[in-house]
Amino acid sequence: MTSAALDPLAWLILLPMFWATLAFVLGLGRGAWLAIIGIALQLGLALALAGRLLAGGVPVHPVGGWGAPLGIDLAVDGLAATMLLLTQAVALPLAVYARSYFTGDSSERRFFWPLVGFLLAAMNALFVSADLFNLYVTLELLGLAAVGLVAAGGKVGQTAAALRYLLSTLVGSGAYLLGVAMIYGAYGSVSLSTLAPLVDRQAPAAVHLAAGLMLVGLTVKTALFPFHFWLPPAHGGAPAPVSALLSALVVKASYYLILRLWLGILAPLLAPGAAIAWLAGLLGCGAILWGSFKAIGTPNLKMLVAYSTVAQIGYLFIVFPLLGRTSPGDAALQGSVLHAVAHALAKSAMFTAAGVLVKATGQETIDGLAGVATRLPLTLFAFALAGVTLMGLPPSAGFLAKWLLLGAAIGQGQWLLVAVIVAGGLLAAAYVFRVLRHAFLPAPVAVSSRPVPRMLEWVAFGLAASSVLLGLRGMEILRLLAAGGSS
């Protein structure tokens, strides 16, 4: 065995694909332990990779030994390592949660583990790929896995949501693919490292169009307002572990790609303060306001959490007008990545907590939560802690993210963004406390509570607590983000 045999970069993709396929062969509903062990190993790999990066290495893996532009390169920088670590770290508790969550031969469970395995493989592959066309394949892999998970319930709402999701994601990746095609036509390569020195401000119009197509396609996949219409039914209607995976991680993958392209090969095309940056920022503002507004209004608990995702995605896009004026690696970028991390932890906590609440009360509505404060204090506490992160209150990681974004916005005198960032936090408080308030109401007499496995409660709590406590470890994340050179 050579050292290459243990290259975490390659194994992070092979391993989940391997256990996913194996889980499928094992049979319907099987493979929970396989998945948990697999993800635990992946977490180890991601940590090893981060360690290597922090030690000054710049991990690149030319697949097939050919190297770009003929072959496909895998490469990891600080941003990719952060996302890899985040993905495995969130997936592991969710896998543990899902094992206890699905009972009997529910239709959601039958192909759950293979689908999750492919989902993780797709995300890991996406984070490390340095090839535009390969990225397209990972995007499709990710999209189909996610749709499969949503569709698994088999009921009308879930099927319709899955279909809407599928069509949106296909249109998104179609636009992305056309962009890639134009780029290949213009430069004769799809490798990021080959393209980087070729793309400059004098690029032909076709390249600008290509950039626009790729960005729009990815934006649809990220569900930025007003392309968010597919997200709430898909995330709100799926079983809790699936909702958590989708909201916490999957939307981040396409966002990651936007960020990567924006800071990477497309950077020379984007003049400082470009209109497209402002468009993204304004849509982000729209997402925050509209998503929060809908979350405040919906009667359904999981839909509330899903709309909250719509709102929180807005924060990820607010960063673009702020990025335009400063160099990469600045506070705004750090803020948006921290926000992605914080939101991943908090949203998975919130969906898992919501799953417990729905399971225990047997009701999906917020009105059905009365008395929960007494019966399921741990879960409610988890929900509240996750809410603290979403509101951006200290000492959570969400607060650090908001602090960095706010600082950047104030520093550049962008008062509109300042106002929206602050308003978004207050609106988040409005919908989070809406849930808590109902939970504090005394329980109706005739309510029957079903027992819930304690493991579910503890996973939700653990995720929520980590989203808050991570606020004390912000430095580590930023150090990893800065490692291995700028993206």
Binding site: R110, V137, L144, T159, M182, Y187, G188, P204
Partner: protein, 222 residues
């Protein structure tokens, strides 16, 4: 309202098409010339047909993921279905088609083998071969010689996943020798053929499965 939206969509589509076409004609020649590189490295790839070389060697990693995509589509399709009772046996409805099928299917099998083998030198390869196999299966089904698949037995599951498993295993094994999917030049040809054979069977099954697993089959014909 709906009409306005429709007109807006059409208008934007028109503008998009126009912009794309116009911009295409202004493109300078590309800076990177990949075809030359492919030609240069072709002898090391283990196959003689450049498209197959790209598909299974230079960009073999894309293909690995693509196989997963195909399996995933099948999983997604099956995930929400309730298990259905096995369909009752039916008598053949049309005397002509079965006869034709009995004649066609072996021919299609041969074609698949040819396509697979030809892929190394000329157009063809695992995907095309698999498609032909799948078409044969569909034909068999349409003539009621092959019932719809109602359950996923272990053998079928292994068949469906086998190609991917082989591909992953080879990739992992090669990782020990060098890089992910880095075929040693001496064995590249045989390794690729090995993977292609496994893929042909699995992909054929998956593609057929996309059709044969479809729900409501029997209900529809009643």
């Amino acid at each position: 309202m709906k009409r306005i939206a429709g007109a807006a969509v059409m208008l934007s589509a028109g503008i998009l098409a126009m912009a794309l076409v116009v911009s295409m004609f202004e493109l300078p020649p590309p800076a990177v010339r990949l075809p030359q590189m492919v030609q240069e490295k072709l002898p090391q790839s283990g196959v003689e047909h450049p498209v197959t070389a790209v598909l299974l060697n230079f960009r073999g990693y894309d293909t690995l993921l693509e196989v997963a995509v195909l399996l995933l589509a099948l999983l997604g399709m099956l995930a929400g279905e309730r298990p259905r009772p096995a369909a009752p046996d039916r008598a053949p409805t049309d005397p002509v088609l079965p006869g034709l099928t009995r004649f066609l299917v072996p021919l299609m099998g041969l074609t698949a083998v040819y396509l697979l083998w030809a892929g190394a030198h000329r157009p063809g390869g695992a995907f095309q071969a698999a498609a032909v196999l799948a078409a044969a299966a569909v034909l068999l089904h349409l003539t009621d010689l092959l019932p719809a698949w109602t359950s996923l037995r272990l053998r079928l599951r292994t068949g469906l996943a086998g190609g991917l498993l082989v591909f992953i295993t080879v990739a992992a094994w090669l990782l020990g020798e060098g890089r992910l999917l880095q075929y040693p030049v001496a064995h590249a040809g045989s390794l690729i053929l090995f993977i292609e054979v496994a893929l042909t069977i699995s992909l054929g099954l998956i593609l057929a499965g996309l059709f044969l697993f479809l729900p409501d089959d029997d209900e529809r014909r009643r």
